[in-house]
Symmetry: C2
Subunit: 136 residues, 2 copies
């Protein structure tokens, strides 16, 4: 990606007061929505430069290279921007599981038939992913 | 949905300082990510009660019944909550187009081969959707 295109992209993005924009990660081939997280300019920059998705962790106040602890890396296939420039859509190839609970995606609780139910079980234990760490 | 389930759901949701939570709308059968918008408690309440998606418009500071001006209604198929309770995923059946530009979804600009390109054209003109109004 050229510097010009990079600037053109960033000029479209409407960052919030904290300098962040929400980014939806979607598995590129199946359409599964994996997770939503936040990016700042540096995270977008790094993601486009490396092809590996990097978010901004609000809890840790720093760049969050998805999978750096857990190994559950997201490879970027395509980055899209919405009409208002205030949301990004990342088409990715997710290695393993996206959710820190060990589930494939983070949206595993649903309202069905008037009840709140879990619709997916962990595929791997969080301990196996993180050892004594929490989240990545 | 029972009041108990409703309370149980809302207890899971982590609203931001403005009382809002981001909600991703995904076409339930094709997996297409249509848009991202925000909901407050009342919007979630109304959406679950009516089965028609209602967001909260930050620009208008009020409930935004998707399609009330444009006719491009979203019928709720299922509401899901993510692991941290800070994002909702709405599986919907979108009538017509989701984007106020007249495109099927809002994510019509992509970075491809180092350039920022439009990857979808409007299916209907915004004037046909809104007349003299902007957005819905």
């Amino acid at each position: 990606m050229t510097g010009t295109t990079h600037d053109e992209l960033l000029a479209l993005v409407s960052f919030n007061a904290d300098g962040l924009v929400p980014a939806i990660a979607q598995q590129h081939d199946t359409g599964e929505v994996l997770m939503m997280a936040w990016m700042n300019r540096d995270a977008i920059d790094e993601t486009l430069s490396t092809g590996r998705v990097c978010y901004y962790s609000r809890s840790r106040a720093g760049l969050w290279r998805k999978g750096e602890t857990s190994g559950q890396v997201q490879h970027l296939k395509e980055l899209r921007v919405d009409c208002d420039g205030d949301t990004l859509l990342l088409l990715v190839d997710q290695e393993g599981v996206a959710c820190h609970t060990g589930r494939r995606n983070c949206f595993f609780r649903a309202v069905r038939d008037g009840a709140l139910v879990e619709i997916a079980a962990p595929l791997v234990s969080p301990e196996a992913l993180y050892g004594h760490h929490s989240h990545d």
